[in-house]
Symmetry: C2
Subunit: 183 residues, 2 copies
DNA sequence: AGCGAGGGAGAACGAGCGTTCTCCCTTGGC
DNA sequence: GCCAAGGGAGAACGCTCGTTCTCCCTCGCT
């Protein structure tokens, strides 16, 4: 098995396990079992578990933001694009393996002990925030709206994760719609 | 040392350690060292670590909601009371040992492995949500507003925790003010 | 065919930690 | 003063798990 293939398989398994059960309750041996990549190979690719965690968050960040942007691109009107963010959140929340925001969960688990993970969470949230800012700017709306939409989206993610329901996306969308008009 | 005193000291130490460093990175021996309550006594009071965690979250829940309600009570106008929630969040975020929402953090850390902790997080969030609903109802505002304010507050807590800044409370307050007028 | 590099399976090592146990001291009741 | 009960200090136990090591097999090259 090629090095690149082994890396992808390891990350696939790590993502499913870390996201589904939390980082700390998943052992490297679990990743080996789920990926078919031997421990020796795993440690060649990722010299320590923390680096596997970082790679997991990094790859997921790229995919998550990519999927969001792709969904938003399908809408033309600037204000529609903003509301599409919340529609996409609703679709995400409804996926069967949805277990909340991977970065918020990772922050709760490792934020106090791993400075690198904490930094990655901050980077992901900052990128999402800046993306919202860019949508707000493109719509010619006041800059303060970006932060407000961000808070609604974060609140919806947390709530959907804890309550295991998707309804918070629609609530957030409605609040966003009102703020678009009020601003 | 009296049983009740030992229990309070143990919970004081557990709260400071669990909240500050996360549950999993704090050992029972750390709690013993910080509280001065011997391991034997700790295990008499809390037969397992999970029960200490539950007691920590339970006591903190009562105090947190008590402090919030007390702050809100100081305001007379129904709409002022709603906005006071966000002012109080801002004060909380600014406290030197603030490290995000204890329940969101605990959920990220233990939600996938401890059903009892997960249930306690849901109960705490439900109680907060119902408190907001009651403020909205008392102000004669549409019921849908309660959920929107809840999402803003949750988003502010998460954001303040991750970015280690208190600004999100003011952003959420402003969004709430607009929603009060728009609704 | 022979050989050496790379890799797989899984044992082994070592640390951390939840939990229990041992030993000893204190103290309150007779 | 004596004894049983309770408690403190900390060692001990057992398990998990991150990380490394051993042993053996395979395979490409000469």
């Amino acid at each position: 098995m090629d090095r690149a293939v082994a890396r992808e398989r390891a990350l696939d398994a790590a993502e499913e396990l870390f996201y589904g059960r939390g980082v700390q309750s998943v052992g490297m041996d679990d990743v080996r079992g789920a990926s078919g990549v031997s421990l020796k190979r795993l440690y060649q690719l990722f010299p320590a578990k923390e680096q596997l965690v970082e790679a997991y968050l990094e790859r997921r960040d790229a995919r998550w933001r990519g999927r969001l942007a792709e969904y938003v691109e399908r809408h033309g009107e600037p204000e529609e694009r903003i509301l599409a963010v919340f529609d996409w959140l609703g679709e995400w929340f409804g996926e069967p393996d949805f277990r909340g925001c991977a970065w918020i969960n990772a922050y709760g688990e490792l934020g106090a002990t791993s400075a690198r993970v904490a930094a990655q969470v901050r980077a992901h949230k900052r990128a999402f925030r800046e993306y919202l800012d860019s949508l707000v700017g493109a719509a010619g709306l006041p800059a303060a709206l970006g932060g407000q939409l961000f808070l609604l989206a974060e609140g919806a993610m947390v709530t959907a994760g804890v309550t295991r329901s998707a309804g918070s996306a629609a609530e957030a969308r409605e609040a966003a719609r009102l703020l678009l008009r009020a601003g």
